[in-house]
């Protein structure tokens, strides 16, 4: 009798102490998808395994992006399955394919995913040019495809099954330039960019247009080739023209060198970049040379957004590597796709497409996320500044501190 009493008592104690504790813990821990639980109840009609494809450039020169995209998607899928987001006992499975930075292999891989594996949806491809080659395959088959890093204009014009969640440079740079110009009083600028890369060329066009719109004089434009490491000559030219600001339209690897070499050539003005520079690794690898670097981007590393903080922690714990924007957008893309499948309660391409197009104000590491009617992303971009080795949101007060 006593024993039974003790058991009941201890069981009650456990209930009282542990259960609310764990509930509380869950409340504290940010969890993707919480805000959609009510609108989309746990799905009933999905198969036991829902398969999607992920087409990234995992080998070749651009694999530096594809590999972190894979890590981002893997983390998301792990969380999605742990949370039984697609319903009890149902798992999301991802087939990763490599496009090897090659348009023809991107097409072949997309055909395999869509026609042979018959996946419900596809994430990727990594490069915009691969998307222009491969996305029509998915469009023709009625399979939703979501670019998580495509920033070229015209991607989603390929059809109503083509989505992307990556804000292009034109969505992030003008606001950042305007804000920085107001705070820092910028009258002249120079631009350096790779002239053989569609992303950096688009970024250059946006910078040039924005400077013209704001009446900022462009005193120098320099180009380099992807893979270059020595930018001293271009920077010497630029510095001779004495700009208030150097705009860097580059990807992270080259941006690191440009920032370091600008410092060693004695440049003391402002530096600014776009999405390509939005990586904690850029700050880590440049040290104090990037103090004050302004980065306009789609993902707010500095945010106190709990989902973003949780993502950074989980990603770093899993991979021993700080996530960059490519990882964040890939992670978000996987969650968006899972959410669409959950809400559609179907693996039918058209149903998932409709659910995806209907996503509005979904809470993600990128902020409150929606698709517009052209299946392009809508969320707030951010202007950040490097203060003491970490990104912080750019504000007037912050720069005043410095002066």
């Amino acid at each position: 009798m006593n024993k039974l009493f003790l058991r009941v008592l201890s069981a009650m104690l456990v209930l009282v102490l542990v259960v609310p504790g764990s509930l509380l813990a869950q409340d504290e821990m940010a969890q993707m998808g919480d805000d959609i639980v009510e609108a989309c109840p746990a799905p009933q009609n999905l198969p036991d395994t829902v398969t999607i494809g992920a087409l990234f450039t995992l080998s070749g020169g651009a694999s530096v992006f594809g590999q972190v995209q894979q890590l981002g998607v893997e983390l998301a899928v792990e969380e999605i399955n742990a949370a039984e987001y697609l319903g009890q006992g149902r798992v999301l499975e991802v087939i990763f394919e490599d496009s090897a930075s090659d348009n023809t292999q991107a097409i072949n891989a997309m055909v395999k995913l869509v026609e042979e594996d018959r996946v419900t949806a596809v994430l990727g491809p990594t490069l915009s040019r691969e998307a222009f080659s491969a996305d029509p395959v998915a469009q023709d088959a009625g399979t939703p495809v979501m670019g998580v890093s495509n920033t070229a204009t015209g991607i989603t014009d390929m059809g109503e099954f083509v989505f992307r969640n990556s804000l292009p440079e034109s969505a992030v740079i003008p606001g950042t330039v305007a804000q920085a110009a107001e705070i820092l009083g910028i009258n002249s600028a120079a631009i350096i960019y790779a002239n053989d890369d569609d992303f950096t060329v688009s970024g250059f066009d946006v910078f040039e247009q924005t400077f013209a719109d704001l009446g900022i004089e462009v005193v120098g434009v320099e180009t380099y080739a992807t893979g270059d490491v020595d930018f001293n000559t271009q920077l010497t030219n630029i510095i001779s023209a004495n700009p208030d600001l150097i705009a860097i339209s580059a990807l992270a690897v080259e941006a690191v060198q440009i920032i370091l070499q600008a410092q060693s050539l004695g440049y003391e003005g402002a530096l600014m970049g776009g999405n390509g520079l939005n990586s904690p690794a850029v700050l880590e690898q440049t040290g104090d040379a990037s103090e004050g670097l302004i980065v306009g981007a789609a993902w707010n590393v500095a945010a106190d957004n709990p989902l973003s903080v949780a993502f950074i922690d989980a990603y770093e714990a899993a991979n021993d590597l700080l996530p960059d924007q490519f990882a964040a957008q890939a992670y978000t893309g996987a969650w968006l796709m899972a959410t669409a499948i959950r809400c559609a309660d179907s693996v039918d391409g058209a149903a998932v497409r409709d659910a995806l197009a209907g996503i509005t104000d979904f809470d993600t590491p990128l902020g409150l996320f929606s698709f517009d009617e052209d299946r392009n992303p809508v969320h707030d971009p951010v202007a950040q500044v490097n203060r003491g080795g970490a990104f912080a949101v750019l504000t007037a007060e912050m720069m005043d501190d410095e002066g």
Binding site: V64, E222, G227, T233, T236, N237, Q257, G266, Q285
Partner: protein, 296 residues
């Protein structure tokens, strides 16, 4: 536009010493074997990684990492010679086959590095070498730029001395001139080949480490852009001419810097490769070389 002439001259010398350092081993192999080893850039990349892991994983000081990398990449050179070149040479295969085989070796080494090290850029720890420019000069130059220049000049001089003034060099030149005669003279031809490849590998390794220090971002792909530039450098210098490689490096760098300084950064590479094209048509022996009947 103002052109900061002294600074651009310094930039040209800095870039040129990188190209020269890279091209020395390239030129050495061509001079002794008459072979274009396109895997040189892959060995160079491995040198950078080996230098890096000696410092970051094995916790060795920087000055240890340079010789370690040189020895390891020297061994790479020997393995390359054994697997990719020696069987072809023994069979008397055309020299073009050796070029193709070296392309295969290059793809293999780059892919292997990607498997082992991943694609994310890695760097030597910040603060390992001083990065601030040397004070008190009318232009800006960092200590590592000076080190690269000095090392490139030293290695070139050492190599030149070795090839021209020592018994070993005499044997190397004999093998370069005519392998069969050399072997009749009692020279162990096969060991000369191995030694040449070891030295070329070690040179690539040294270049890789210094490059990794100067440009602080090491990936499996760092060899690719410099491979084609290096080709221009050694063609300009006269294929297989060691001094020529050094001069070619500075000429190509000077041309690049000049084209950018003059406002043509878009056409920089077009100018360099047009020069490559023209030099071959007009003066295949290179800018300073004399026509070498056994090669051209």
């Amino acid at each position: 536009m103002d052109i900061n002439v002294p600074q651009q001259v310094v930039n040209a010398i800095g870039l040129g010493s990188v190209y020269s350092l890279f091209a020395l081993g390239y030129a050495l192999v061509f001079s002794v074997l008459g072979v274009l080893n396109l895997a040189h850039s892959a060995v160079f990349m491995w040198g950078a990684f080996i230098g890096l892991i000696t410092v970051t994983e094995l916790d060795q000081p920087l000055w240890v990492s340079l010789p370690v990398a040189m020895v390891v990449t020297g061994v790479f050179g020997i393995i390359l010679e054994r697997i990719a070149f020696a069987p072809l040479r023994r069979r008397g295969a055309p020299r073009i086959s050796q070029l193709i085989s070296s392309i295969g070796a290059s793809i293999f080494l780059v892919s292997l590095a990607q498997l082992v090290f991943g694609s994310q850029p890695q760097r030597f720890p910040i603060g390992l070498i001083p990065t601030d420019p040397i004070p008190g000069l009318p232009f800006r130059v960092t200590p590592i730029q000076v080190v690269i220049l000095v090392v490139a000049l030293l290695l070139m001089a050492l190599l030149q001395f070795l090839v021209m003034r020592t018994r070993l060099g005499q044997r190397m030149r004999a093998v370069a001139f005519n392998q069969r005669t050399a072997s009749l003279l009692g020279i162990n031809v096969s060991s000369i080949y191995l030694l040449t490849f070891f030295m070329a590998g070690a040179l690539a390794g040294a270049a890789g480490v210094l490059y990794g220090l100067a440009f602080s971002s090491i990936t499996p792909f760092i060899g690719e852009p410099i491979a084609l530039k290096g080709l221009t450098v050694i063609v300009l210098g006269g294929l297989g001419n060691i001094q020529g490689a050094l001069i070619g490096g500075f000429v190509v760098a000077g041309l690049e810097v000049f084209s950018i300084a003059a406002g043509g950064s878009n056409y920089r590479d077009a100018i360099v490769f047009s020069l490559l094209f023209l030099i071959l048509l007009v003066r295949p022996q290179g800018l300073i070389g004399q026509r070498d009947q056994s090669r051209a």
